[in-house]
Each structure stands twice: as structure tokens, then as C-alpha cells.
């Protein structure tokens, strides 16, 4: 979340679109109806609806805010209050590939700080900024629950484990060159930011079956147990 303090600068939000084209609106309304139907109360649909409008425009524009407000019957100001609370909602466009570098203590110490420094300099953009071609944006992210693969990076919320400064630069070069890039634990290739947002809105893209079931570090305990002949105690039969 972001709390803006009086002594920190507030960036003007670069909202341009204030309403959607009729055919876009119609499609969004159909999706919104489906999302709202999942919940006992419409307002519960707000977070997925924000992911939905983000999947349309890449960020939450003024049009997106109004759309969500109308959809759940609250004011745009109430929606904005929610948008600004959550870091995954962007108030200005991000790149097609949003690249995160984990800089929480463990990853930072294992090399994340150096990755960030070198990558940011190499790409020429800072935290929460995009390249001019709009392909890549960078973010300093917090622990992404992958510490056993430190240092960790994310692209459009797919895992890139065991990173180094060189691998990070190569990754961004590949993304900007339009090459297909595969996460270490995830789908066979990284989808676009907008496509990822649609999955977060609750629309499965049919790619769950791609990629490995588990990374190597996730399996280490199991492997060792198997090699050592260790197992959980046998349940007493007849209990059933």
C-alpha cells in the first residue's frame, strides 16, 4: 500500500481516458456482471473489477474508476480511495512487461540490491518508471514468497528465480526485442501485463497446465526424505 505523506511528493496521475468506447464498454459490462455474480455483495467485486479495467488499459484510468464505481454503486472517490491503497493498481501506464526486483532484506543481501542498481542503470529508468518505447517498466518489489530462490525477480507476476545482474539485463533485452521469455516457475512464456491482469480478475487463460509443478528448491526436503527412507508415521488402519 502507499501512504502519501505531506513531505513526499505526490505524482500527478496521468489519466487521459475518461470514458470507454461503446463496444469496449459493452464487453466490460458483460465481464463485470460475471464478476459481481460471484459475490454475495456487489462491492466485494471491486478488487477484481479494478484488475479487469487494468486488463483493458494497462492501468486504472479515470474511465476505469468511473466504470467500477457505476458497476458496484459507489462514488468514484470511494473507488479512488481503494485504488491508491493497493500497489498492484497503477495510476499511469506501465510497460507491456512490468519487471519487479525483490529488494526485501533477504533478496537484497543475496544480490537483489546489486541487480536493481545495475538493471536500473542499464535500462535507464527508475522505480515505477517505464522505458520510452513503453515495453518495460521497473519496480522495487517486496518479498514475493520465493525466498528460497533468492535473488528473485518477477515479470508480469511470473517468477524469475536465482537471478544475477547479467541474467536480469539479458531478460530485459529479450523482452524489449520481443522474444518469448519463460519464467523459471510458471507458464511456458510470459504473457502481457494486460493478459495477466485479466487472470487476476478471475478469468482463467487456460495456461495452468503449463510449466513445472514445482521448482527444485520446493522439492529438496521431499527428495532428501526419499533418499533417506524417511516418511511420516503410518496411520493405524481400522480407524476408518
Amino acid at each position: 500500500m502507499n501512504i502519501r505523506r505531506a513531505d513526499e511528493s505526490v505524482e500527478g496521475s496521468a489519466t487521459v481516458s475518461t470514458s470507454f468506447e461503446p463496444e469496449v464498454l459493452e464487453r466490460l459490462e458483460r465481464d463485470a456482471k460475471e464478476i459481481i455474480a460471484r459475490y454475495p455483495k456487489p462491492r466485494s467485486a471491486l478488487l477484481p473489477l479494478l484488475h479487469l479495467v487494468q486488463s483493458e488499459e494497462g492501468y486504472v484510468s479515470e474511465a476505469g474508476v468511473r466504470f467500477c464505481a457505476d458497476a458496484v454503486g459507489i462514488t468514484p472517490a470511494q473507488v479512488t480511495g481503494v485504488v491508491t491503497f493497493y500497489t498492484q493498481y497503477k495510476q499511469h501506464p506501465v510497460g507491456d512487461f512490468h519487471v519487479g526486483v525483490c529488494i526485501n532484506s533477504l533478496c537484497a543481501i543475496m544480490g537483489g540490491d546489486q541487480i536493481w542498481r545495475e538493471l536500473s542503470e542499464y535500462v535507464g529508468v527508475g522505480h515505477d518508471e517505464s522505458t520510452e518505447d513503453g515495453k518495460v517498466s521497473l519496480e522495487r518489489i517486496e518479498c514475493n514468497a520465493a525466498c528460497d530462490y533468492a535473488p528473485v525477480m518477477m515479470v508480469n507476476w511470473e517468477f524469475f528465480d536465482d537471478m544475477t545482474p547479467d541474467k536480469a539485463k539479458q531478460l530485459v533485452d529479450d523482452l524489449r526485442a520481443g522474444k518469448q521469455v519463460a519464467p523459471t516457475r510458471g507458464a511456458e512464456s510470459v504473457c502481457s501485463w494486460k493478459q495477466a491482469s485479466r487472470v487476476l480478475a478471475g478469468f482463467n487463460d487456460g495456461r495452468a497446465g503449463e510449466g513445472a509443478q514445482a521448482g527444485y528448491a520446493s522439492l529438496r526436503g521431499l527428495q532428501l526424505a526419499k533418499d533417506s527412507g524417511w516418511a511420516a508415521p503410518e496411520p493405524e488402519r481400522g480407524a476408518e
Binding site: 500500500m1 502507499n2 460471484r38 454475495p40 455483495k41 466485494s44 478488487l47 458496484v72 481503494v82 491503497f85 493497493y86 500497489t87 498492484q88 526485501n104 532484506s105 533477504l106 543481501i109 543475496m110 544480490g111 546489486q114 517486496e142 518479498c143 514468497a145 520465493a146 525466498c147 528460497d148 533468492a150 508480469n156 507476476w157 511470473e158 544475477t164 519464467p183 516457475r185 487476476l200 478471475g202 482463467n204 487463460d205 495452468a208 510449466g211 509443478q213 514445482a214 521448482g215 528448491a217 520446493s218 522439492l219 529438496r220 526436503g221 521431499l222 527428495q223 532428501l224 526424505a225 533417506s228 524417511w230 516418511a231 511420516a232 508415521p233 496411520p235 493405524e236 480407524a239 476408518e240
Partner: protein, 432 residues
């Protein structure tokens, strides 16, 4: 010697482990059939008897929590799974849901049946795209098989299960903030009491449990409470996933009975990385006070870790060797808490901000011993005075690092700089 007990992790090495077919092949959804043939209260009793305690950090007895749900009150009940996993160092629920989402789904169905809930939610952090895909698919597969939906397996029990993605806010892991978030608001904690069991989601009786807690339920139903309770220690029963990360030879997930020690786990993981020694570690994430090499033999159960001055938390064992600057680690965690503070209460909002400002200065060697007293004073004003446990947790790294490494802070001041070579801590240190 304690050995590993793969249960939740047992089939993760099967390439299709995340599919319903594979899960059923290995006996999955058998427990569901057993459970649906049992009176609900017997399931609650079995979970009570097993001694299962919440795996999300606080260790509250799961069966007791379920027992607080008022029964036959005619109101809708809700089950909410906390899959927000964002506590720094914690990395067990994410691989579990990636490799074995059906264990969670089966646990949800059984648990919802037990507490008489007809709607359940899995609130998963939004920054894990592929995990969300796997959960969505597992839920869809369970609907197809008639395990979720109306009249489940002909028993008359109905359940809807919604996978709900968060949007990047650590505080939404706090159970009442999670509820506000799930209702479509900013995620800010609620005053307790009333507890969620009485007034939770939409004001209705609600059980909130961690992923691993709920995923453990099918095994308890299948194998019995005694089986579960035969593992672990007297008051911390059963097994848990221990996550080793950092300066370890083989970091990863190790499922073991509660009460195993870090010395044993490190042995299994090949020790601290070659040529280095253990300096400090977190037993249960960054919100639990740091331990040092003095604590290698503390049994990792709720009581023993507590008695040694920390908390078992989420069993997130972040290991740091002697190349690591503790002040740097604490600064970065403090920046995290300042960023994630929801702003609702003054001690945490202002306190974490001051932590960040002060530690930034101290890490650069600008400070004096007096500043350490100020930090401890500040900590006294946060701990116990914050509205929720985020504020309390923020004080853990600060106070424990000063307790064990006061001299290291002072060395920063004496040198007027950080005395450590940060490059020496990286994974690629020594390679050229």
C-alpha cells in the same frame, strides 16, 4: 534425531501433481467422502483432538476457532482461506498451491462442511500469477467432479468456492484487514472483539485460516487425530513446512514435525554455505525477533521458541552468515513495514516512518549510542500500543538486533560508514 515427514509435500515431485487426476490417484478426495459421511461436530472434534494450531503465524488452535462459530443460528457462515503469504521470508503456501492446490481445495470443502458454510473464499495475494491459474483450475476441476456446487456427492451439502486475488498489500494478511479488503474496501484492520467467528465477513460468522492449516485437514480426517498428534511436541502437535532461505547450501522446503531444531534442519540442508558461519536468523519471518547461533538447538515449536524470546511464526527460517550487516537487514525490513503500514493508528504509522529515517542514517554510520536508546524508546511506544500486530512485528528486528548486535551498530558510528562489504554477501561472491 528428528526426520522429515512429507505429507503435504509428499507428491510434489509428480510432474502432474497439481491436477485432480494425479491428486485422486494418490488418494485425494477420499477424505472428503469420509468427512461428508460424518456429523459436522465430529469433524470439529477431530480437528480439536489433533491439536492442530494455526499455521499462519499466531498458532491459535484451529478446532477451537471452529467451535466459536455459533451453530444453528440461521445466518450464513463463511470460510475464508488466508493465502496472502507476504510476511518476509515466508514461502511455503505459494509452492503448496502451485504443486498441490487440490489439498487446499479438499481441505476447504471439508472445513466448510464442518462449520456449516456454503460459501468459501481463497484470498490469494495478487503477485503470483501462475499460482492463481493453478488455483482457478483446481477449483474448476473440483466443480466438474461434483466436489463443489450443489448437492455435493448426493449429500445435500452445497458450497461455492471463489478464488479472489488481492492487489498488493501485506496488511491484507491480517485477518480483519483481509475481510475489509474482501468486502471491497481499503485493507485496514478492524477492532476485535467482535472476533470474526461472531461478526466477520458481511458481519456473519466467519472462520479465517491459513492455507497450510486448511490443507492439513484432509490428512487429519483420513488418518485420524491420534496420527496427527503422534507427531510434534506436547503442545505443538503435528507437522509443518519449514522454509530455509538465505546463506544455506540447499535452501528449500522441508516438511517436519514441529519441534525440530535449526541445527537438524541445517544439517539436512547442507549447512550454512561453504566457508561461512551462521550469524543471525529469523525463526518465523521478519516479524519474529532474530535468533543467533546460540539458538541452534531451540526446538522449533510454539512454546520453546516463545520461551527463547521469539515466535515460531510461519517457520520462515531466513539464514544470514557473518558477511551480512545486521543493520542493513533491519533497515530494509523497517522500510518494508513503513511502506506496508496501513496508516490507521499513530504508533505504527509514525513509528515505522521514524524507524526508517533513523536506520537509514545509522546504517551510513551517522549516529551515536544515544540513537540506540531512542530506537528502543520508540519501540516501546509501538509495541503493545499499535492497533494490530503489524506494528508489534515491526519492532522485532529492531529490538532484537540491538539486543544481540549493539556492538555492530556502534562500529558503524565509529567508522562513520558501514563496515561490511556488501558484495561478500551475494550469491555470486567469490566468482569473478
Amino acid at each position: 534425531m528428528t526426520t522429515l515427514t512429507p505429507i503435504l509435500t509428499k507428491h510434489w515431485d509428480r510432474p502432474d501433481s497439481f491436477t485432480r487426476e494425479a491428486y485422486e490417484d494418490d488418494g485425494g478426495y477420499e477424505a472428503l467422502r469420509t468427512a461428508l459421511g460424518m456429523p459436522q461436530d465430529d469433524i470439529i472434534q477431530a480437528v480439536k483432538d489433533s491439536g492442530l494450531r494455526g499455521r499462519g503465524g499466531a498458532g491459535f488452535p484451529t478446532g477451537m476457532k471452529w467451535g466459536f462459530i455459533p451453530q444453528a443460528d440461521g445466518k450464513p457462515h463463511y470460510l475464508v482461506v488466508n493465502a496472502d503469504e507476504s510476511e518476509p521470508g515466508t514461502c511455503k503456501d505459494i509452492p503448496l498451491m502451485m504443486a498441490n492446490p487440490h489439498a487446499l481445495v479438499e481441505g476447504v470443502i471439508i472445513s466448510a462442511y464442518a462449520i456449516r458454510a456454503n460459501i468459501a473464499f481463497i484470498y490469494v495475494r495478487g503477485e503470483v500469477l501462475h499460482v492463481i491459474r493453478r488455483l482457478q483450475q483446481a477449483v474448476a476441476e473440483a466443480y466438474e467432479a461434483g466436489y463443489i456446487g450443489t448437492d455435493i456427492l448426493g449429500t445435500g451439502f452445497d458450497l461455492e468456492l471463489v478464488v479472489h486475488s488481492g492487489a498488493g498489500a501485506y496488511i491484507c494478511g491480517e485477518e480483519t484487514a483481509l475481510l475489509d479488503s474482501l468486502e471491497g474496501f481499503r485493507g485496514q484492520p478492524r477492532l476485535k472483539p467482535p472476533f470474526p467467528a461472531v461478526a466477520g465477513l458481511y458481519g456473519g460468522p466467519t472462520v479465517i485460516n491459513n492455507v497450510e492449516s486448511i490443507a492439513s485437514v484432509p490428512a487429519i480426517v483420513a488418518n485420524g487425530a491420534d496420527w496427527f498428534a503422534s507427531m510434534g511436541t506436547e503442545k505443538s502437535k503435528g507437522f509443518g513446512i519449514f522454509s530455509l532461505s538465505g546463506h544455506v547450501t540447499r535452501p528449500g522446503q522441508y516438511e517436519a514435525p514441529l519441534g525440530i531444531t535449526l541445527r537438524e534442519l541445517l544439517d539436512m540442508a547442507g549447512g550454512v554455505r561453504a566457508g561461512h558461519q551462521l550469524k543471525f536468523w529469523t525463526p518465523g519471518g521478519s516479524s519474529t525477533p532474530l535468533f543467533t547461533d546460540e539458538h541452534l538447538d531451540v526446538p522449533l515449536d510454539f512454546e520453546s521458541v516463545g520461551a527463547a524470546g521469539s515466535m515460531l511464526g510461519t517457520r520462515a527460517l531466513q539464514i544470514f552468515d557473518e558477511t551480512t550487516c545486521v543493520v542493513r537487514a533491519v533497515l530494509r525490513w523497517s522500510e518494508f513495514y513503513a511502506h506496508e503500514s496501513c496508516g490507521k493508528c499513530t504508533p505504527c504509522r509514525e513509528g515505522t516512518y521514524w524507524y526508517k529515517q533513523m536506520l537509514k542514517r545509522l546504517e551510513q554510520g551517522q549516529g551515536s549510542e544515544e540513537d540506540l536508546d531512542t530506537l528502543l524508546d520508540l519501540s516501546d511506544n509501538i509495541l503493545g500500543r499499535s492497533f494490530c500486530a503489524l506494528g508489534d512485528g515491526a519492532t522485532s528486528p529492531v529490538t532484537s538486533s540491538i539486543q544481540y548486535f549493539r556492538d555492530e551498530y556502534i562500529r558503524h558510528f565509529e567508522m562513520g560508514a558501514c563496515p561490511f562489504d556488501h558484495a561478500a554477501s551475494t550469491v555470486w561472491a567469490g566468482e569473478k
